[in-house]
């Protein structure tokens, strides 16, 4: 009882002094062929139905708020591949390029956004 309390206090203290983690994209799945109406910030949501990956959705990292949907189905054009790293972070390739609006162009590697300088 007291031991667990001490552990919690130590955990709180260590939390205070830990540097804020970089804002990485997390990975989540929904059991559907479609993305949910709301995609949480900083999350790549994958629509997966019966083991089949349909698409990945995320909110644009530039801050414009646009919802980006990337097809993962084979043979669809354009399409992307997604990989989950050991720490459950998403990697998408090739790069993601909005052809209107914010025109963001970036890579998502291991949950981190890498902007393309073009």
């Amino acid at each position: 009882m007291i031991g667990s309390l001490l552990r919690r206090v130590r955990f709180w203290l260590s939390g205070w002094f830990r540097p804020a983690p970089p804002a990485r994209y997390a990975l989540a799945y929904v059991d559907s062929d479609e993305l949910p109406s709301v995609i949480p910030d900083r999350t790549v949501v994958v629509a997966r139905e019966a083991g089949e990956l349909w698409s990945a959705g995320l909110i644009c990292p530039c801050g414009c708020g646009r919802r980006i949907e990337l097809m993962l189905l084979p043979k669809v054009k354009p399409r992307w591949d997604i990989r989950e790293s050991q720490n459950e972070r998403p990697t998408l390739w090739p790069s993601i390029w909005a052809n209107d609006g914010c025109r963001s162009h970036f890579w998502l590697r291991d949950g981190m956004v890498e902007w393309c300088k073009d």
């Binding site: 062929d33 949907e69 990337l70 189905l73 054009k77 790069s95 390029w97 052809n99 073009d118």
Partner: protein, 368 residues
Amino acid sequence: MEQTLTSPNAAHANVVDVAGTDLVFRPVPVTDRTPTARQVLAAMNLAPHDEYVVLQWLPGRDIEEVRPEELVDMSDATTSKLIIAKSDRTYRLMLNDHALEWPEAEITEEALRILGAIDASLQIFLTRDDEADRLLEPGDKVNLRAEGVETLYAKSKEWKLNVQGVVIESDAPEIVVRDAIAKAGFDVETKWIIILKTATERKQVDLNYVIDLREPGIEKLRLTPREINNGEVSAGFRRDFALLPADHARLDEHGYDWIAMIENGRRWLILRNVHLPAGYNLSVATIAMEVPSAYPMAEIDMFYCSPHLARLDGHMIPQTQVNESIGGRTFQRWSRHRGALAPWVPGKDSVVTHLLLIEESLNREVDK
């Protein structure tokens, strides 16, 4: 004439078609040309007679009970069809405005199809008061025990399609993707990635594709806005002019993200996300070269970088002071020319050999 009436053939002419509730009819010979219901039961050795119901399926497709002493209507031999079942009552229903009596408390969808001559292109519905009429699926049964006369009707199949969560109905069994999208209330002008989802495949289709709703397992038309591109597709974006086929192949082979753009009559080959050697302020840049209209006879000269490159050690890069605007962006012109020792050789030199010069120039600048 007298002879034919007494011949064995004449007896065979007195036949009624009889079925159970399975509606599988078989001929039953009867002795009388105008038999009563009781005589038919006797001919079939069914007793006691009062435990059976005899129904006649009339030419107009109504079904009526024939009382034991009532004569079976033999006026139209082709439609002298009797339905006989062990029962002490009949149930009444209406099918497509025809009044039917039925000897069992349930009737199958299959029997309704036979009785109403309803083919497979039609669907049968049971009318209900306070809710949507019930569509009968193959194998379904209608319970006739409830009070009142059950009313059933057949109508054309409604072809349904789920378009991104919106279920649309079509009168025709074929629908063009464009019409389906419009009918579901989506903007046809939006560029969509359209996937036709069936039980067995996922197929990317275009607006002009015709969906055959009769094919089993058509499930859904799934839409995704086509507003995001990937590196592969963006490379296919702009091809204002044609390079040599060999150039095109080599650029693609090396994975270059390139566009060929004509601006103010000048032909630009632009390579995006080119990796730079260490020592510059950037790790990747966009590099352009001007491809003269007389290429490959005329030489490609110099190259252009965007954003501006600088050496990390602060040393100036010579002959890069001139700016050039290409596609609305400012490029830094690298005035690098072939010397007399390595002149442009038509047929040997190309975009690809020029790229080697660019690479060499970029490396040389930071190797100093």
